[in-house]
Subunit: 250 residues, 2 copies
Amino acid sequence: RGTIEKLKASELSQIDRLAAVMSGKGGVGKSSVTALLAVRLSRQGFRVGIMDADITGPSIPRMFGVREQPASLGFGILPVRTRTGISIMSLNLLLPHEDDPVIWRGPLIAGAVRQFWTDVAWGELDYLLVDLPPGTGDAPLTVMQSLPLDGLVVVSSPQDLAVMVVRKAIKMAGMLGVPILGLLENMTYATCPRCGEKLRLFGPSQGERVARETGVPFLGEIPLDPHLAELCDSGEIEQYEGVMLPLLSS
Amino acid sequence: RGTIEKLKASELSQIDRLAAVMSGKGGVGKSSVTALLAVRLSRQGFRVGIMDADITGPSIPRMFGVREQPASLGFGILPVRTRTGISIMSLNLLLPHEDDPVIWRGPLIAGAVRQFWTDVAWGELDYLLVDLPPGTGDAPLTVMQSLPLDGLVVVSSPQDLAVMVVRKAIKMAGMLGVPILGLLENMTYATCPRCGEKLRLFGPSQGERVARETGVPFLGEIPLDPHLAELCDSGEIEQYEGVMLPLLSS
Ligand SMILES: Nc1ncnc2c1ncn2[C@@H]1O[C@H](COP(=O)(O)OP(=O)(O)O)[C@@H](O)[C@H]1O
Ligand SMILES: Nc1ncnc2c1ncn2[C@@H]1O[C@H](COP(=O)(O)OP(=O)(O)O)[C@@H](O)[C@H]1O
Ligand SMILES: [Zn+2]
């Protein structure tokens, strides 16, 4: 397996750091973590973009409440900007209805991911975050092989099942030579609003141990917070004031 | 798009009913629902099998605590049987380590799914359940196009995000002429063990409304139950005594 050439970004993109967020397992909160990371970096004054590479299950536009179609000009596709100025590119913005299915096989998925890098005019960004779909198939593989990634953030949750699939993602990154910036555990516990009891719905936390065993930095735990789920649903994740992610020192 | 020929099952398979379980969105509990459905049908005396078509994120074997390699004989591959006699076929059973990543692109994924139907000697089954991966890509497409499905069970959770992606799955089934047996909502609420408060962590339930709007039968709600997560992690889902799924009257 010779090394695959990294693709060049559009002439109109100047991206300082490129990081992907992956979990392998769906539903652990990978897109939410990508969105929260972008919000935090943007609040610190960085210019941030998100590439939604979850082609058949894109949820980033809805979290930010954006619906406009990206403008496609002669020189490239312009990403859509959120209320606080984060640039977003997602296939869901190109569909007539957000609940239309994208019934694509691998080659089309890989093609779309490549185009999000080569044809989108991202402009000047300090950070571009790539939200990867679950699994270790076409989209994660294309991103890791063809994009010049600086690193990967891995998101897990407390269950053994999630940990097993997260280990697959970590092994995949190792095989493809992509450094891992850190592991975050999401949905670690919920707090009862009435009596304050901590409910560990998905079992004891394993994030710290898994990070130690796989030799990646542990970036912390995020609790289940109904307010976060609400803001994701109402498209206002930029207003989240709860626990913010520890800044990646990549 | 001409109609695609349905594939023939192995000579050594006699399957009465074939149903797939889908969500579109990862992490809503689709694999858990597939497993619980199989356990319930098996307790009622039916002969049941599960085909784990989530090729890059297979979690069925771990839920049942099975690790043996399927025997591959001249006439076909024999599925592995669980403690209570449910037949299981999953790519994770063919890997040396369960946390090895399967880094396959679309064509290989579609090929494996076809082989699980044409080359596995399922024997006589009343029900074969197919656990689909998240998204609307190669594996769900291959199953809906190439396998003679009797119907589809759709699993959702309360968030708008999950509902949006579940609608994609329902539209996809409609486009491919696969009947929908019903919609189940999972993780509807958690109960505080200390004070009995119901926590709607992911917002108000939407399952019934979505089922009504999309014209599919509503099969009920499943609460978050830490004991279920525990049994999934310990490979003992066959011992679950909590809320069992309403039987599909298909
Ligand atoms: N810490 C959390 N607290 C509450 N809800 C969360 C949390 N993390 C994620 N969610 C909710 O769970 C759902 C799934 O999260 P998502 O980020 O889409 O997962 P993934 O991208 O891993 O499939 C979202 O609707 C989100 O609102
Ligand atoms: N109702 C529930 N109560 C508690 N835990 C659940 C419930 N449903 C699913 N889980 C847990 O959530 C995790 C994800 O479920 P899974 O079935 O793998 O989702 P999917 O197949 O949709 O990705 C599993 O580890 C499972 O133990
Ligand atoms: Zn309480």
